[in-house]
């Protein structure tokens, strides 16, 4: 992890200050739901990891793209190309095969892993709806410059 942190540090450009965003009402409106989704998803993930092997949790989380397509079709009314739907078939089939052959299956562990995947997908869909400019420092926002 130290290696990863060092790599991250080196890969970053170190030009200027890290500008901190003040917590206004509009920032909170977009950040708080994202934070809640993240906490809930992480709790589910921890519960799942406590009950079933890590590899199995991540196998179940691999269906996230399926949920993403499903939920954004249902919630946002998005349309995807036929190729996208076709590519989901082997994904779902593979995960089902991996689940049925899983030896260390435990019901609530599986449910928690699935719930974690779902919550993170909902968070991603929600975050796409958030007006991103509110998370930028006032001087960095698009539009006319503040004096």
């Amino acid at each position: 992890m130290a290696l990863a942190a060092t790599l991250l540090w080196w890969a970053s450009d170190r030009r200027g200050p890290r500008v901190l965003v003040s917590l206004t009402r509009s920032v909170a409106r977009s950040v708080v739901p994202l934070a809640l989704f993240n906490i809930i998803g992480h709790v589910f993930s921890s519960v799942a990891i406590a009950r079933v092997p890590v590899s199995f949790v991540h196998t179940i989380k691999a269906v996230s793209p399926f949920f993403t397509v499903l939920l954004s079709t249902v919630i946002l009314g998005s349309r995807y190309s036929r190729d996208v739907y076709i590519s989901l078939i082997p994904l779902v089939t593979g995960v089902i095969m991996a689940c049925t052959s899983e030896l260390a299956w435990e019901f609530w562990g599986g449910v928690a892993a699935l719930g974690s995947a779902l919550v993170f997908v909902v968070q991603n869909i929600f975050s796409k709806k958030v007006p991103r400019a509110v998370l930028l420092h006032p001087r960095r926002r698009p539009g006319p410059r503040a004096p």
């Binding site: 990863a4 080196w10 993170f120 991603n124 930028l136 420092h137 001087r139 539009g143």
Partner: protein, 175 residues
Amino acid sequence: MAPVMHNGLLDAGRLAPSAAAAAPSSSSSSSSSSSANGQPPSGGGLYPGRGGTPLVHVPSPTANYMVAVDAMRGAAPAGATTARSDTEGAPSWAKSHTLRFLVLVACWYACSSLTNNIGKEILQAFTFPVTLTVAQFGFIGVFTYIYGTHARGPRRTGAGAARPTAHARAPLALP
């Protein structure tokens, strides 16, 4: 610690449209075709190697992502005052957007794998997943706060020289 990076990456990727839209460029360029629509020609700024590419046009998902990272960090809108390279100050191997992106992805996977396996080890001895989550988010908050307040770059010039007015980034450490 990995989840925060995971979501940070995903969230940051969506900053791009606004960040790119905020990027009028005044640097000189080999091409003048982009000035037809009233936009000044660009070429320095965010994509140093791409002379004449209008900055409002984001050429690839990778560049898209790096624009988002720059915007998230509070980098000056490209070319607004000066035509600095956005990789100025970074090591030579990190000048490529694609390489930086791949390094970030590799770091993300490394941290994710480590966090999950260490979490499993802990949970086998200490069977309170919610408590573990709270502790993890506590660490994330502390480290993000330290990073946000202390990890400053060396240059403070131009429009970006104003000091940050508040340090309420801590809530952002949660997601």
